[in-house]
Symmetry: C2
Subunit: 331 residues, 2 copies
């Protein structure tokens, strides 16, 4: 009889996930025991404790994360920009017309001023079009997969997808273990991020909100394909982030994590006048030794000035990378 009870209990505990000893290890061990960490764990405990006014139903536990500079590094260039340059380098030897293109030459020479000239940054859009359109979505996925397998970060000499932050990977898991759904809401391309989001972050494609171009449906040799275009581009940055959240998720998040002024509107939308309890978090890059130190004058993207000013009055948590994280990279 005791055996029967033991078997039943063990089965029950397996089903409910309550195995003995669980919860003893710190799920956020890469975070030092500082106020930033406490503000996050206290918030999560607050919204997940039943029979309290601050309890939030699991379907409303939406957490949104910026990607570049928040989940992985973004210096010296956002990694998708490195992909663009590497693709142009790879293709130029076999494609003379491409090699002769003045904007391709500007990109290969690192002449950012030429690319950004003009109100609409025509040069940049042109090299984006060269590397992000005219192929099917399947062909683009393969190009990104190949690049991730081949390319290495210039300073850390590792594949780019090994430059995710250990504390943030832990935070994603910790939130999911507490019934949150974790979304990426990034200015990066959705198609680009979806190639690796499941493998690298455990975030499935349908939970990746990013910048998108249109696609054109075709039957090619009788088989359905989607051809990537830039006929219309939705830029999921700044004021675009609340719009993207509304369009793709249709709910207001209760937790938003970012690192730049591009995330300010997303943090406002999450934390101001939200009928549910909410938390905003900003990662401040303060660690030149282990990663990078920047705010007002970033290497390329990730300027952080106005959002940092707003953090105090809004009660947002500011993470000091150097002091608050005992480990930076996940691998």
């Amino acid at each position: 009889m005791r055996n029967v009870i033991a078997v039943l209990l063990s089965l029950l505990l397996t089903v409910t996930g309550c195995t003995s000893g669980e919860g003893t290890a710190d799920p956020l061990s890469a975070w030092n025991d500082v106020p930033a960490k406490t503000s996050i764990t206290e918030f999560v405990e607050r919204v997940t404790t039943g029979d309290t006014p601050d309890f939030v139903e699991p379907e409303d536990r939406i957490a949104v994360f910026d990607n570049d500079g928040t989940l992985w590094a973004e210096a010296p260039l956002p990694f998708q920009a490195a992909f663009v340059i590497d693709e142009l380098k790879r293709r130029a030897p076999q494609e003379p017309a491409l090699a002769a293109d003045p904007m391709v030459q500007a990109a290969l020479n690192g002449d950012v001023a030429t690319l950004l000239a003009g109100d609409r940054h025509e040069g940049l859009l042109h090299v984006l079009a060269l590397t992000h359109t005219g192929m099917t979505t399947g062909e683009f996925d393969q190009a990104v997969t190949n690049w991730l397998a081949r390319a290495r970060h210039p300073r850390f000499d590792r594949p780019y997808d090994q430059l995710t932050y250990a504390p943030q990977q832990q935070l994603l898991s910790y939130l999911r273990d507490n019934g949150f759904r974790t979304y990426i809401v990034s200015g990066g391309g959705a198609d680009f991020m979806r190639v690796f989001s499941q493998r690298v972050y455990g975030i499935p494609p349908e939970q990746v909100v990013g910048s998108t171009g249109t696609t054109r449906y075709e039957l090619r040799d009788g088989k359905p394909v989607l051809v990537k275009t830039l006929d219309y581009v939705f830029v999921d940055d700044k004021a675009g982030k609340p719009s993207g959240i509304h369009e793709f998720i249709g709910r207001r998040p209760i937790l938003a994590v970012g690192n730049s002024d591009g995330d300010q509107a997303m943090l406002e939308y999450t934390t101001i006048d939200n009928p549910l309890p909410s938390l905003g978090v900003l990662v401040h890059h303060t660690d030149a030794e282990r990663e990078y130190a920047y705010d007002a004058d970033p290497p390329a993207s990730g300027k952080l000035v106005t959002a940092l000013q707003e953090a105090g009055p809004r009660g947002w948590t500011v993470v000091d990378m150097k002091n608050d994280w005992n480990t930076v990279f996940a691998q």
Copy 2:
């Protein structure tokens, strides 16, 4: 001791959902035992039986459903068009400028030809703009909620959201019970459908893909709002459906259910050259007595000609509403 075992067992069975007697009732009782029903249940059994080549992992069990004419009725007018006309009627007495607008008058007089004149259907876009823009997303939600509470279908004299199909409601539940995620992929407005999708279909807002306009983020009196605009409109119909699926879900579905030529591309994208097992289903409106009978010449929307021709060669299941459903409406 027996009590302890009974309590544990009952707890275990509650947790696993295995209560005695479950599974004995037919989950698709509103479907007659016809080949259409069998094709669906055989497909679901095929992709959910472990250790077989056709087993599909739960994360890939994506089912997409058109809404108008597939999950609820679409005659004599798509219900969102009825909302537009009712809104104009409601507002015209207090808004003289609105009442004097020639396109509003055309809409109120049922003068569809005037609304659809011109290559870009300027009249239709104009009345859509009047009823779908210039307000916040919250104000729009409230307008739809109020309309659903007040309006009644001209023939069936019931609230519109009581005109969903019982067999399809059962199919949605049956699929979810078998580990599918059910999505709406409709030409209707996403913001419109999200007001009732959870309550009426058990489909949460993030699983509703529809036509969308842009929104503009503002802090109004210090509070974040999204103002609806038609600066850019994504039309989630015909070739737009595969694009919408790619953009919002980022995975190919394995089951697609529609009822018109507007769903043809979605069924192609789901069933042709899909590396996973897949099924396409078309609902044919054949029941003038209990609902409506139409295909080539529908009352307003829902033309079904080329998709029906393609059904045979593609192996799509065609549902004959009159003969295959023993109940039509869910309430």
